[in-house]
Amino acid sequence: MSVPVMTVPGEPPAPVSSAAVRATGLTKVYGSGDTAVLALDGVDVDFARGGFTAIMGPSGSGKSTLMHCLAGLDTATSGQVFLGGTELTRLRDDELTRLRRERVGFVFQAFNLLPVLDARENVVLPMQLAGRRPDPAWFDAVIARLGLRERLRHRPAELSGGQQQRVAIARALLPRPDVVFADEPTGNLDSRAGAEVLDLLRSSVRETGQTVVMVTHDPTAASYADRVVLLADGRLAGEVERPTAASVLDALRGLGG
């Protein structure tokens, strides 16, 4: 049985895979000369659509750098990054910015929200910057799921750390991005608030098929994911499928970190 394949002359064929994000030969060098640091060293990795992946590794192994390059926040020194069919490594700054606000969501460890805006304004900010209106039904659903209905008029300074992270997650989910990146989203929270945040991330994967990539140090947090990617010295150093806190801890010990 032959399926006609359409190709555009001059363009490489769109990568046919179920990966939401894919990196090939990704290398990142900070600085130059004597002080040059090789933060990523030829990383090949892909993240399945609708999957929840955790990135782990010792401090300084390049987790944040990998995430920034995948999310179009930083430019790679060499190698390629694909978000769906788009090659990020080719885009100019404005195109990257537009891609970030329409197709990528972020949750950071701290300083996620703009202090001058209230919770609602923070949540809709990327869509507003893109000049789009959130779908009201979807907005209500996200806000209800994150339990923020009563908090929409509050400024970040009037919210607890856990509430602030939930607002950040709502902001990340609202535009229905191709992928949500989270860099140590529970790093500043106590274990209970942390568990809440992780539950929310996992349920958004389970219930709406959201792709989530999360950097974490915490084996318990990693156990919420479907898969753990291990990083050491800027190189891939193994994977754990269907992780548990114990199996992740074992794998980390194996790195000697």
């Binding site: 926040l73 970030r100 996620n112 001058v116 900010l125 507003q128």
Partner: protein, 824 residues
């Protein structure tokens, strides 16, 4: 610690440039003012006192009585080489190429060369009757022949033709431009009716001490009623009476200098806040490794002092250069302030250095205190987000209200009683109050303006509106600096426009006719009005007839007849020149009183057997007896034309002045002794003075505005530093570089726009009240707000604020989103 400071200075040099610029401008301003003031003083001293500088002693009569007797005594006095009596008279002279006569003040040339003070631009001084030297104002060259008409005390006129032998340069004498001057031999001056001298200039024998000579002279002339001074003292005495205006101007300029220094202080404080915020971690690290808070503070203050001193040195040089440029420019054109050369007093240099350095130190004190409060641990932490709220001191609020309310009341009283001496302290106090209260009042206004902008400008504008009030104290300081500059500029512009309008209206009322032609012998040919009306630039005119009927008291009175039909279109204002109706005689109150007639009473006039009874109309001011031409013709059928009133076309002052010259020449060719007076020259003089004043003052205030705008740029730079993470977050979640630049641009527009609009409103109030209090005494005050200029001030200040955001915005846009997420 000093080496760390110097290293810090080197590292932050580019940032420091902004605050240095503010210091340089402010210091340059103050120094230029002081130098110009001193230059004016010496110019006047050498120019106005020129005739006394060469003399060893001068005797002046206090009551104007003759000093001829003293002359004889002094010539015989031991130690006296020569005495020059000051023969003085005035004549009418016609220069070649002109038909109209001009007024000349004639003095005598001393016989002794030491007492000949006149500096010749050309030719030589006269040495026989029939020769004169003239000042440049006369417009004659060496070899020209002047027709001189002198009137003796008994009224007889003599006419002589004299040759011009030299042209005298009066230098910067403030009176040089007012009227022409001529110098003749003592004999010629006496022939032209010079009265007995009231001033004697004395030259001593070589080696005589002037003070000793002056004392000897005083002893030799025991009588009272005369003053003996040394030549230098006399020169200073005369210059002093002329410097009044220049000193007042210098005082005004120093006020503006103070304003520039104040604004610079606000800006410097903000700049240091920027610098220190950028270095919080550096300073904290210094604390970590063991520097005490005092050491850190001292380091910062030494840095401020060095910056201030360096900038002040540049500022002093710039100020002297500026004064030199102004002086050179003023030498070329006629300026209301006499200037020539440049005198740099040491005090100006020292004052400049002190003002610049101290202002910088004071301004840096508050940020330095804040910087030393930094906990050593801050080195380890990301920058704290800016405080959301800060509370301006209650002291400031109370003090502000205590200044504003009584100040405003005093200002209102000053306007009501038309006294600038009441209004001025009120204005100063209320403005200081405004400046103090601005800290509290501006943030809410900025917030409101931000709300407005947020609705117009999309997401970046909305964020900018929030950002503009994040740090109310800093926003207030930035906006206050601009507010001060804009307020004062607007006050000047509105004040000048209103002064001009008021003075123009006043002139129109006082001198309703542009040009008045009057025959000295009392008669003008009836055809003259027609000839003048045909001249280009003359719009219309009216002829006044004159006769001498006998009044009710049996005395002959000069009565004018005016034709209201032609007078109304000729006069610029009839406010103080009421016109008679047919059958009415307008007479001044004093005359009505002496004739014992009341308003509406019959006034009988007779002439050559004809009698006429008119209704009395009493006018307040010193007007002539006025009838309609028709009524006067009934009394005196052949009444001659006594005066012509002309109205000129509205055009530039110099065009009108040229028309007046043509009128003068035309009249002079028909009636040589006729007198032509034009208020055009008055209006022109006033316009010139106001224009120069406005130009100088707005230029100087412009400096304050420029300094304030540097402050806007600095504040934004500080925001960029403080909100590095936040801006990075915005970039991460999708704000483009352009939108980020827009964000800062909006913030600048909101802050500078608010300051500009409020400043213009305040400035308008001060301009109008100021004018009202200064000119209210003189009558009706005409308020004139030059809307176009005022709008231009708002636009310029706002756009300049926008420009000030360009550099910080570029800096912000360069921040990569990731770098911003990393701490610090």
């Amino acid at each position: 610690m000093l080496s760390t400071t110097l290293a810090g200075l080197r590292a932050h040099l580019p940032r420091l440039v902004a605050s240095c610029l503010a210091v340089v401008l402010a210091v340059a301003f103050v120094v230029a003012t002081l130098v110009l003031n001193e230059t004016t003083r010496t110019t006047v001293l050498t120019a106005a006192g020129a005739q006394y500088v060469g003399a060893d002693a001068v005797v002046t009569s206090d009551d104007g009585s003759s000093l001829l007797d003293e002359l004889a005594v002094l010539t015989a006095l031991d130690g006296v080489r020569a005495v020059a009596p000051e023969w003085q008279t005035s004549v009418q002279a016609v220069a070649p190429g002109r038909t109209g006569a001009q007024y000349l003040v004639v003095g005598a040339v001393a016989d002794d060369p030491a007492l000949r003070w006149q500096r010749l631009a050309d030719g030589a001084l006269p040495d026989r009757p029939g020769e004169v030297a003239v000042s440049e104002r006369v417009g004659a060259d060496v070899g020209d022949v002047l027709r001189v008409t002198a009137t003796a005390a008994d009224g007889t006129e003599t006419s002589t033709a004299v040759t011009v032998t030299g042209v005298v340069d009066l230098g910067g004498d403030p009176e040089a431009g007012l009227y022409g001057r001529a110098w003749a031999t003592p004999a010629q001056a006496q022939a032209w009716g010079a009265v007995d001298p009231t001033e004697l200039r004395i030259a001593g024998r070589p080696g005589t001490d002037p003070q000793v000579l002056a004392d000897a002279v005083a002893t030799a002339l025991p009588g009272s009623g005369l003053t003996v001074r040394t030549g230098t003292a006399q020169a200073e005495h005369r210059a002093g009476s002329m410097l009044g205006n220049a000193t007042a101007l210098a005082a005004v300029l120093l006020v503006f200098g103070t304003v520039a220094v104040l604004v610079a202080g606000l800006v410097i404080a903000n700049t240091f806040a920027v610098l220190l915020a950028q270095r919080t971690r550096e300073l904290a690290l210094l604390r970590c490794v063991g520097a005490t808070a005092r050491q850190v503070r001292r380091g910062v203050l030494v840095e401020a002092a060095l910056t201030g001193l360096a900038a002040s040195v540049v500022g002093v040089a710039a100020g002297i250069g500026l004064a030199g440029a102004v002086s050179a420019l003023a030498g070329g054109v006629e300026s209301p302030v006499p200037l020539s050369g440049l005198s740099v007093p040491l005090t100006a240099v020292l004052a400049g250095l002190a003002v610049g350095t101290l202002t910088t130190l004071l301004a840096a004190a508050a940020p330095a205190r804040a910087a030393t409060r930094v906990a050593p641990l801050a080195a380890m932490r990301p920058l704290d987000p800016a405080p959301l709220r800060s509370r301006p001191g209650v002291v400031r609020l109370v003090l502000g209200l205590l200044l504003l309310l009584p100040g405003a009341a005093l200002l209102a009283v000053g306007v009501a009683v038309a006294s600038v001496f009441v209004a001025l302290p009120g204005g100063v106090a209320s403005f200081l109050g405004v400046v103090l209260l601005a800290q509290r009042a501006l943030p809410p206004v900025v917030r409101a303006a931000g709300g407005l902008v947020a609705r117009l400008g999309g997401v970046p504008a909305r964020l900018a509106a929030g950002n503009a009030t994040r740090n109310p104290r800093r926003t207030a300081a930035t906006a206050t600096a601009l507010l001060i500059g804009v307020t004062l500029t607007t006050a000047m512009v509105v004040g000048t426009a209103s002064t001009r309008a008021t003075a123009t209206a006043g002139l129109a009322a006082q001198y309703p006719a542009d040009v008045v032609v009057e025959g000295l012998s009392g008669e003008l040919p009836p055809s003259l009005l027609g000839r003048l009306g045909d001249l280009g630039g003359v719009a219309t005119g009216t002829a006044l007839t004159v006769a001498q009927p006998t009044g009710p008291d049996g005395q002959p009175w000069t009565v004018y007849g005016i034709d209201p039909a032609t007078a109304v279109p000729t006069l610029r204002s009839t406010a103080e020149t009421p016109l008679p109706q047919p059958g009415q005689a307008l007479l001044p109150r004093w005359l009505a009183d002496s004739w014992s007639v009341a308003d509406g009473d019959p006034v009988p006039l007779t002439l050559d057997g004809r009698a006429l009874s008119l209704r009395a109309g009493i006018v307040d001011d010193d007007a002539p007896l006025l009838l309609t031409t028709g009524d006067l013709a009934a009394l005196a059928p052949g009444a001659a034309v006594g005066q012509l009133w002309l109205r000129l076309d509205d055009s530039d002052a110099d065009v009108q002045a040229a028309v007046v010259d043509t009128v003068t020449d035309t009249v002079g060719s028909v009636v040589p002794d006729a007198q032509v007076t034009g208020v055009v020259s008055l209006r022109q003089q006033m316009d010139e003075v106001l224009d120069v004043l406005l130009l100088v003052v707005t230029g100087l205030l412009g400096v304050a505005v420029v300094i304030a705008l540097i402050g806007v740029g600095n504040t934004l730079a500080l925001s960029v530093v403080e909100r590095r993470q936040e801006n990075g977050l915005l970039r991460a979640v999708g704000l483009t570089r352009g939108q980020l630049r827009g964000l800062l641009a909006w913030e600048a527009v909101v802050v500078s726009g608010v300051a500009a609009v409020l400043g213009v409103v305040l400035g308008g109030v001060y301009g109008v009240t100021g004018t009202a209090s200064v000119l209210g005494m003189a009558g009706e005050v005409v308020v004139d707000v030059p809307w176009l200029q005022v709008a231009a001030i708002v636009v310029v200040a706002t756009v300049a604020g926008l420009l000030a955001s360009v550099l910080p915005a570029r800096r912000a846009a360069r921040i990569p989103p990731v770098a911003a997420l990393a701490a610090g």
